[in-house]
Chain length 292, copies 4
């Protein structure tokens, strides 16, 4: 696997944060809005978690990627602006955290465009990266993303490092510019083992069976994944939710993980946008994935 990463690096690592806030428990279940405690559990993310995580990232000199649903940006505009001001990347994460695979094509378009509009208006950003809410990409979305000029997606799980994902139907179109840019998206894979939701989230009748990991247990899992991916030249992408990992004990443990990874020789720590741009620069042959 030599030659994939920038000179001097054998693997890459990215810290990403899905700033779902209330949206994560509202889409498809609007009745949850009535549960004030549940809403407060989610609000912890933008109110407390994000500021703490921004400090942590600054302490370790890490630029991260924050996926922000439009609804979050509308409800907490200042928080999103602070993320931008600190130099981090903002990615698209739907408007109300809609599950793409459960939506019609028109509904997916509406969520995509509404999310773009809100991020532009409130934070002045045009994201080049997308992550499907609930990590549940549909087969329609790659083409929709490409039509809107997205460079990358980060929702699939079929590789250890980024690749070019061929997008069906697009090569014949002349409306988009560039050859490869018009026909493929960079895909930066994720995996459930690198998510904090399974480790920490418990919301009765909404999510979780009651198991809540200690911060050290979660760190052991993520560090093992890191060691494994680093060894094979892969791309380690951790996803944390500020309403979960923003708690003091978990943030402290996350900080220890950051320190460990930053100090590992040969790891390129970067936001997903830079990883996507680097991948694009390699001129890889796009991989076609056939629906079933």
């Amino acid at each position: 696997m030599t030659g994939f990463w920038p000179a001097g690096h054998q693997s890459a690592a990215a810290f990403t944060f899905d700033v779902d806030a209330e949206s994560a428990v509202l889409w498809g279940a609007p009745e949850n809005a009535r549960r004030m405690s549940v809403m407060s559990h989610q609000a912890y993310g933008p109110l407390v978690g994000v500021p703490r995580i921004l400090s942590l990232l600054a302490d370790h000199g890490i630029t991260a990627t924050f996926f922000v649903p439009g609804f979050t940006a509308e409800r907490y505009p200042q928080v999103v602006r602070e993320i931008v001001a600190a130099g981090h990347e903002i990615g698209h994460h739907g408007y109300l955290h809609e599950q793409p695979s459960a939506q019609s094509r028109d509904e997916q378009i509406a969520a995509l465009d509404r999310g773009l509009d809100v991020l532009a208006e409130i934070a002045g950003v045009r994201p080049v990266g997308y992550r499907a809410p609930m990590w549940d990409l549909s087969w329609e979305l790659p083409e929709l993303l490409l039509e809107r000029g997205f460079l990358y997606d980060s929702s699939l799980m079929d590789a250890d490092r980024p690749y070019e994902l061929a997008v069906a139907g697009t090569p014949s179109s002349s409306a988009t510019s560039g050859a490869q840019a018009a026909s493929s998206l960079v895909e930066i894979p994720i995996q459930w083992a690198l998510d904090d939701w399974e480790q920490y989230c418990y919301l009765p009748d909404i999510s979780g069976a009651g198991y809540i990991a200690t911060p050290e247990q979660a760190r052991a899992l993520w560090e093992a994944e890191f060691d494994g991916l680093h060894e094979v030249g892969g791309c380690w992408v951790l996803t944390n939710h500020p309403f979960l990992s923003g708690r003091p004990a978990r943030a402290a443990s996350l900080g220890r993980l950051m320190a460990r990874i930053v100090a590992t020789p040969g790891v390129w720590v970067a936001p997903l946008r830079e990883i996507a741009e680097h991948t694009r620069s390699l001129g890889l042959e796009p991989r076609s994935v056939q629906p079933i």
Copy 2:
């Protein structure tokens, strides 16, 4: 965060106990009353757990807060009186552990007033603190609590330490006395990671997926949370249920946790009432939370 806590303290810690007994599995599921083993599992709390916990608190010189549903007080009056006699605080926890967010406003009022009546009659107490059963506060309850003279609630999860929660609609009322007292409640946040239910509770067809933590595993989680909150000047609020944490092995482990926390320099160990009174004395600007 200097200046928040009483002089000489950098954080606060409270041990709280929800004395749910049978009520926790009866509201919304009266058929569970037919299950004698389930009822006995819940009865362990007042019969065995509470006396053991009272001894433990005495051993460590800790004054705690016990949230007691009216139904528990009616079924185990002597137990509630013993908690009072030992100098601990009694808080309101509904009448039959009713989930507020699932009730109409009138039903919430009925549960609130019935709980108050029973606690007055049986234990001679008028609680100033409230905790929503199932940790599921409704948007109506803050106003209802304020109308009844409550000082604080402890059911939300959007902060690391107490704050003044602005209560909608109340400032215009002249029936209540005092300026700030009439328009806000002190909120003392909790969180699922600081609850023993997820660690220990297993009741087939009622709760739990089968994972039962060892007392040391639970303690590791709660101690990590303590270390994190202590570091940032927060307020650590542990919630235990006597029918779970009253078992000998768990109580012994809880005692070790008490010893550790009491011995930590700079921690103010207090019942929630004192923490609420201190918070009120700071004259904080109330925080408005908008429903969705």
Copy 3:
């Protein structure tokens, strides 16, 4: 708590085994009979688990209590006879592992009498002890047990050691002999933390969420419970299922636990029958438990 246990002992410990075999997954779900793999998973208990456990008990000089549903005795008569021949106690556990609280009074009577008939016919035993399948005693069963001459039940969870359970309606009857014997059952409490089902059982669509403890994790939980109960003079009752704990690794770990407990000074290791007889000899005042 001095004076409760036989001279020289400060606590008691019992190893019990619920030999459910197929019955545990058939009652209320007869369609499971079609699943040959599931049936084989349950059959492991009598075929492999019980012989291994009998050896283990012999190695450690322990007399145990085996609760055997009638259906198990019919399908594996030789296995039940071997348990008897090895000197262990046989307890009643329903006919087809019926959940008493989900049955009518007549259905409960039928299951009780059919179980008694089968155990008499096949193993030549008349059990004096009962444990409710699914640990879900009904309010009717104590009286039904007393009418049939049972000495004890082991299905409730509201105490740390045995007690006399007052049985409603029976004192006025003159059909039964003896004063106290006619009006109360000895109850020997159990608890979910002392069961191997939650630690080990995984059967898709039937039981479990996927967590399978290592034998050392299970042992740590049970040993912590033992230490706690021993300290307070309680009665530690472990329940294992031969189809789960009979596997080599788990049996080996169980053997280490046996060695540890047998070697602990002051513990009286005995089958439940002896514990019940001792409890009866104390002449305790029966405790009345009121249904809700």
Copy 4:
């Protein structure tokens, strides 16, 4: 248990891999095909997991057994051919991972024959071993397998080592050749504790409650099972799924487990086919299992 295994060996160990890929989440739930992220999660198996596992097996000099549904062979023919080229055994695992116990006899026949046809056509193999998808053998399958010349099944859980499973109805038939070969299948038992699905798999709305073991936790469980089975002369059969255990961290841990087992004196590490052939050579009396 001396005398069961080949001279010089006291136990056996087999590494097996179920190459389910997409089929594991499609049978009975075709709507999952719409979820591109879910499909990619499964595709990781043949795309990344299998090549890595083949390397690992080569490094440790182990010949393994891969159970391959027909659908996987059709979608990833090259992957299956590489498994064959590396000298490993291919077993039958249905066509679309159909759960036999939920199918009619005709449906079972169709899945069995279609799977055989695909494996013959694509990989040029005729498997002698079968493993029921979802580990859920039906009572009809043993006879159907025997009619098609299979030597062994590996789906039951009622023993610590292989045995001859008597097949009902077949002895009277004269269409099959040989006495014992015509009337019994070798059964090589498995168990949920020796599967990686429970340890690692999390797919929202499809499988898992959120618990994801670290590779070291999974290894501790499997190694304990190994130690236990080795001690009693049993047969340790580990089942891994390439889409789960093919990840770098897990594969590295699996490699450490392979090293440990290969280095244990007295263990015979072999593919299931060799274990079945050895078992057949012992001339054991077939065991009859009666349906309920």
